[in-house]
């Protein structure tokens, strides 16, 4: 059961020893997936970026490098509103994920009762539920005159305003969807804090809050960072849930670029939005990369 020990407790050697011929062999081994990656991701991505950085004069056919597309994006109040909307949703969702996820992770880390096992199953339940099904379920549950509305009515609460087609609906669904991942990673991070450390802190009379702020929080910074980064990236670029549960306007970036391409038939505009989304995520991505390339606590 504790395979976690094997994969995290023992330190991996800093740098594997051999070079020379094995480098060639290594390149051979990694080439199939690398080839797929290059042909189907890198090249199209590069093409897309180049397309957004240039404009072609219809008359002369001359192509020039320019930032015009990006300037146009930031000058359009509708598109900027979409960007702000996306940022709002991301902040709200990630904040809620921490507020809900941390207590859950703490509980699961330190309690071994059967209730804890049940809580864990529930917390992991959303893991494999596809976004489309989730959206459908939430519409039936949280929609106007849906099940939740009916329950409230029965106990006398009127005036229910459905979160469906509002920012709240998107946030609720995205939080629902990402709880398992958040709880998993945070719990794993907390597991790296040995029981003995906590015990000895309690032995010297520290209360819960002190243990939390002075021991647990600092030691689980790494996993918290990972959760923060990966959730921001996932939520920022989300498409399915904002598409199915969100309002007509404003749209999130993922929905907006599809709309721009499919409905307004503006291919370059859509690609520009894609690159902007990518850049936002890239900043967070660099943060993630820096976090995980640091040595783990207690190793090396």
């Amino acid at each position: 059961m504790e395979t976690a020990q094997l994969t995290t407790a023992r330190p991996a050697p800093a740098v594997p020893a051999r070079r020379d011929w094995s480098a060639l062999f290594a390149y051979l081994l990694i080439s199939p997936p690398l080839l797929v990656l290059t042909l189907l991701i890198f090249i199209p991505a590069a093409q897309a970026v180049i397309e957004t950085l240039s404009t072609t004069d219809a008359a002369t056919g001359q192509t020039t490098l320019t930032l015009q597309n990006y300037i146009a994006f930031f000058q359009d109040p509708i598109l900027v509103a979409n960007l702000e909307f996306t940022i709002q949703i991301t902040i709200a969702t990630v904040a809620l994920l921490f507020v809900i996820g941390f207590p859950l992770a703490l509980y699961l880390r330190f309690s071994k009762s059967r209730i804890a096992a049940a809580v864990q199953v529930l917390a992991l339940f959303p893991l494999f539920v596809p976004g489309v099904i989730l959206s459908f379920a939430l519409i039936e549950f949280l929609g106007s005159h849906g099940m939740f509305d009916t329950m409230l009515n029965l106990i006398g609460i009127q005036g229910y305003r459905t979160p469906y087609q509002h920012l709240q609906g998107i946030v609720i669904a995205l939080v629902w969807e990402n709880i398992p991942f958040t709880v998993l990673i945070l719990t794993a991070g907390l597991r790296q804090v040995e029981d003995a450390v906590v015990e000895s802190a309690r032995d010297v009379g520290a209360n819960f809050w002190q243990i939390f702020t002075r021991i647990l929080l600092p030691l689980s910074k790494r996993s918290a960072m990972i959760v923060l980064c990966l959730n921001i990236i996932g939520v920022f670029g989300a498409f399915t849930i904002p598409y199915l549960l969100g309002p007509a306007q404003p749209m999130t970036m993922g929905v907006s670029m599809q709309q721009t391409f499919n409905r307004y038939e503006d291919r370059t505009g859509a690609l520009t939005q894609a690159v902007i989304t990518f850049l936002f995520c890239a900043v967070v991505g660099v943060l993630y990369v820096r976090t995980i390339t640091q040595p783990r606590e207690g190793q090396r």
Binding site: A14, V132, Q165, T240, Y288
Partner: protein, 430 residues
């Protein structure tokens, strides 16, 4: 090691590929990637009054339906290419085709869906033209396609000329919808108003567009229409608003590039719609499709909505709507809708079979089925259908259904609506 690490990190910053999982389109791994592409960009207008507008493939400009080959071809095979919605295809597959094969057992019918693939039947038409030029098999016998939307192919004489001789039942078809001799309409659908008769007394039911707008403002939150790009019941509501400000003359709108003089009137339509925006359900929450509007009407969240006739009639039959929901059409100018047209390329390997199938669709029994099973509108004159059916649908019978040309007009419509009506940003003074 430290330096190497730093260089690696810097390289990663510079390298496009140095970022993390799940940005756009995918959720966090390990959560599964589940992202249906946006609905088809083909508007629900002349070609296919789509009863529902389900999310289908985002049409990439380079994907081509002409690459789709039927399982077989020949003089006993009828290959029919359709971009209809699934309920229409189900109807054809489960009801019409078996009945046809009973009457004409020598044929085999392949119904091939090209919904959401490239330009659908239009690509197949292109392929048929290419086949004509090279004397090869177009692999197509019937296209769900209105030949008038592609003048070049019509001029190239690609289509079989349809008349009362080779399609005998054509003489029963409503005259005004026979827009050409290269395509045959066989069913129609229009948008209507559906309302809850327990909440809207008969004498308050609006019969003109102006009355409707007044009713909406007087009953905030009780009316809804869906986003125009997500469902024809919404787009045709918006089109009706556009007709309202351009003199209620649909014939002004011709297929092809939008007329700038008419485009200049669009802002008046946006003003009309923006006026009622806050009176729309939930302070202007436009549902994302025909089905969602039906749900709101069915569960009592709104008392009136613009809906597709075929969808609503089916909803009443299947108990989705309570029986208190009634349907009504506007008197001054009906909501738009459209008829579905079929065309036959003249180099088809089975012109005889294709024409027999089209004729079969126009048989009275099958036209009754269009009304009863699909909730659509017949292409033949209502007077030729059983009297009791006519009585049942008196409030919605019109002899003609205006329709919108689609194409670039629709692109302007979408953008204009999203930017001016749905947005919560204050535009400049209207």
């Amino acid at each position: 090691m430290g330096n190497i690490k730093r260089i690696a990190i810097v390289l990663l910053v510079l390298l496009i590929g140095s970022v993390v999982a799940a940005c756009a389109g995918a959720t966090n791994a390990p959560a599964p990637t589940s992202a249906p592409a946006a609905p088809t960009s083909a508007p629900a207008a002349t070609n296919a009054p789509a009863a529902t507008s389900a999310p289908a493939a985002g049409a990439t400009p380079t994907q081509n339906a002409a690459d789709i080959k039927p399982p077989s071809s020949g003089e006993n095979v009828i290959n029919m290419y359709s971009d209809d919605d699934s309920n229409i295809r189900d109807w054809l597959t489960n009801k019409i085709i078996p009945a046809f094969l009973q009457k004409f057992p020598q044929y085999k019918v392949n119904l091939i869906s090209v919904r959401g693939v490239g330009n659908g039947p239009r690509d197949i038409a292109d392929r048929a033209k290419a086949a004509l030029d090279t004397n090869s098999d177009p692999l197509a016998d019937i296209l769900v396609f209105d030949c008038t939307t592609y003048p070049a192919l019509r001029q190239a004489d690609l289509w079989v000329k349809l008349d009362d001789t080779n399609v005998p039942n054509r003489k029963n078809v409503i005259n005004s919808i026979k827009t050409s001799d290269c395509s045959q309409p066989y069913r129609g659908s229009q948008v209507l108003l559906a309302y809850d008769s327990t909440k809207v007394p008969e004498n308050e039911v609006p019969h003109t567009f102006t009355d409707l707008l007044a009713w909406i403002k007087a009953h905030p939150g009780q009316f809804v229409y869906c986003r125009p790009d997500k469902g024809g019941s919404g787009s045709n509501f918006v089109v009706r608003a556009i007709y309202e400000v351009t003199g209620k003359d649909p014939s002004l709108f011709k297929p092809g590039d939008p007329d700038p003089a008419l485009l200049a009137k669009f802002p008046d339509a946006w003003k009309l719609l923006r006026d009622i925006h806050s009176a729309i359900y939930d302070n202007g929450a436009y549902p994302a499709g025909n089905t969602q509007v039906q749900t709101l009407l069915a569960n009592g969240s709104v008392s009136m909505a613009s809906v597709w006739s075929d969808q609503s009639l089916q909803a009443l039959q299947k108990g989705v709507y309570p029986p208190t929901i009634k349907l009504v059409q506007l008197n001054d100018l009906p909501f738009p809708g459209g008829y579905n047209y079929l065309s036959v390329p003249k180099n088809s390997r089975n012109v005889k079979g294709a024409l027999e199938f089209i004729n079969f669709l126009l048989e009275p029994d099958n036209q009754v089925s269009v009304v009863k099973d699909l909730g659509g509108f017949p292409a033949v004159d209502w007077s030729l259908l059983p009297k009791d059916l006519q009585q049942q649908y008196t409030s919605v019978i019109t002899s003609n259904v205006p329709s919108w040309p689609g194409g670039k007009w629709t692109t302007e419509l979408y953008k204009g609506w999203y930017d001016n009506v749905a947005t919560n940003i204050k535009q400049g003074s209207p």
